[in-house]
Symmetry: C2
Subunit: 414 residues, 2 copies
Amino acid sequence: MEQLQVKVAEEAEFRVAGEPRITSPQGFTASGLHVGIKRKRKDLGLIACEVPATAAAVYTMNTYQAAPLRVTREGLAMEGKMQAMIVNSGNANACTGARGLEDAKAMQREAAQWLNIPEHRVGVASTGVIGETLPMDRIQPGIPELVKQLDSAGHDSFCQSILTTDTRIKTVEVRLTVDGREVRVAGAAKGSGMIHPRMATMLAFINTDAAIEAPVLQSLLRQVTDETFNMITVDGDCSTNDMVSVMASGLAGNEPLTPDHPQWPAYYQAFSYVARELAQLIARDGEGATRLVEVVVTGGETREGARRAAKAVVGSSLVKTAVFGADPNWGRILTALGYSGARFHPDRVDLYIGSICVVHQGCPVSGVEELAKEALVQDPARIELNLNQGEAEATAWGCDLTYDYVRINASYRT
Amino acid sequence: MEQLQVKVAEEAEFRVAGEPRITSPQGFTASGLHVGIKRKRKDLGLIACEVPATAAAVYTMNTYQAAPLRVTREGLAMEGKMQAMIVNSGNANACTGARGLEDAKAMQREAAQWLNIPEHRVGVASTGVIGETLPMDRIQPGIPELVKQLDSAGHDSFCQSILTTDTRIKTVEVRLTVDGREVRVAGAAKGSGMIHPRMATMLAFINTDAAIEAPVLQSLLRQVTDETFNMITVDGDCSTNDMVSVMASGLAGNEPLTPDHPQWPAYYQAFSYVARELAQLIARDGEGATRLVEVVVTGGETREGARRAAKAVVGSSLVKTAVFGADPNWGRILTALGYSGARFHPDRVDLYIGSICVVHQGCPVSGVEELAKEALVQDPARIELNLNQGEAEATAWGCDLTYDYVRINASYRT
């Protein structure tokens, strides 16, 4: 049996699954195959639900939205339900014009036929190189096999099939009790470059067996995404293919969850935990990264200001290289804060690296360089800025900038 | 005698000096010394004018403005004149609190005393590590020697004294005829990291012997900066110390230049040329860079949109690594355009790498990969996007992102 850890949140309690599976919530199966989009590794995956699931999704704000996102959005708009999600890696099907749209629709149609469900209940996602058309002659024949292999044990195959430059699969699962029933929320995600989400993020798929209405699910997803996936950055580049989608099978049998439900806080916390952990897994596995960087801003005048400040610091190339070099160069951190657009008084700022206070009320603290250096080599490397200006807080996650980021991206296609 | 090239601009004519000197405009001398802020290289420099020069300056928009900028601004506000600029490298005197302000004032006061001019006519600039106080015990004794060495041959020493991670000095000079008199405009600048100017830029000093009133000079500087220094990026980090200042001695004896002067267009073009060339020199010598990247956006709906688009593309880590790897990965270029915030229709966009059209009306052009690759290894690597949406244009400059950028910044202080 798998191991369950107990996680006590502020106002709620949920358990974190030691062996998370995207197929763990009731009703879900998954599969993943190699069909030849990539040279060797799995490149086509499917999640299916035995019932039409209530669904929601958020998409990239990039003007170039990849074809599969459009197909998914149009399908979802029809009845707010989804019953399957087909995903390929190795090719983003972005900037591919009318042909790209046809291909995304063909993936949707083909999967629907073999699953024997309406087309509009199939979501489509793609990730990989931009500007090349999909090898449909390889994808199409793989779809019946993909459907055939659907299984609750298909978790690993699916998670592998969505990776590009990722070095590991990214998956999280939590369980909680709602109306006396066990409810599960499980997610899988992929990174790991072109990561700087705005209003949505990289590919992430969340399954839950909770009963919840579509509008509630959509607003839950939007709010949680804003605090989690939208707070990570790897390289400042906001992709054409970012999407987070969620399917809720309702098979747990709870009363439908709404903000008025007594267990809403617990579910919100559990859902949020899954999203935050996935977001951190993406940041930690950023291209070439050696470790996760967490930037916490407290005491902000406004939440937007705190968010900007946290994202500016975590996204600064000079902060990222300083973390890589274990150089507690707090001047670079304050500089990024200074150009973030957040309002603050320089002489009120406290800056911590790990638990070491390196700047107090705007003045450097002497004799702490070595301690700060030790704190900076921890994983995660944690930077906290207290603006002492108000009550607003925000946390952002990123990674260090290393030789390997350059190596990976100077030779991605060639 | 030095060699002069003829440069014909759209509506004006000026000559580019083959051996540019910051001291070439009438009235200016300069010097540079090693006083021990840096280990070996020159680190203290001075420009002086034999008469009180009409002056103007623009400063970083970072909330943390270094102490010397405040001292310069306050001095300049008193009568719009400057007669000297003292600069140190190796230490930014930024985030140094009250002590930093005292030190900057001491530099100003000391230079004024030895030059025998009012304090407020001395500008101060610093560049280097943030958050450490200046070694005034080394700087102060150097100032009389610096004043003593002032000479029209001091050009090289001054230019060397302002460098940090720069690999070369950056200097440009042009000459033109105004009212039958020869007028000269010469500038010196330094980069080369933490470069992402907003409303001002890295340190750049421009000398001219033109007669021009302070308000006209200030508005000229602001407008030209916006089209030149504010259009470069190395790493997206906007420094605490950015400043461009200009001194106009008036010794050329022309009628004061205003937009109504018949030779205003010529002077504007000449001045703009100096600023643009300095900006490009900074971008080309970006930390670790192997070459200059020029991004031209045409056919924009608005100028602001075109500017955003050009800056997003030139600042994209993925575009920068693709240039380093000579990978004509146009998907990354369109992606950056897509998140820039510029308004455009994806199916109208034309994209050129060098002179090679790789995307026409939103569709990839086939069979041009090799040609595009060849174009991308040129210096400068030139990327042009025609949005076919309107008349607005903008050009931005940057550099590729290389292993050396990471090396330099992972070990800057340690």
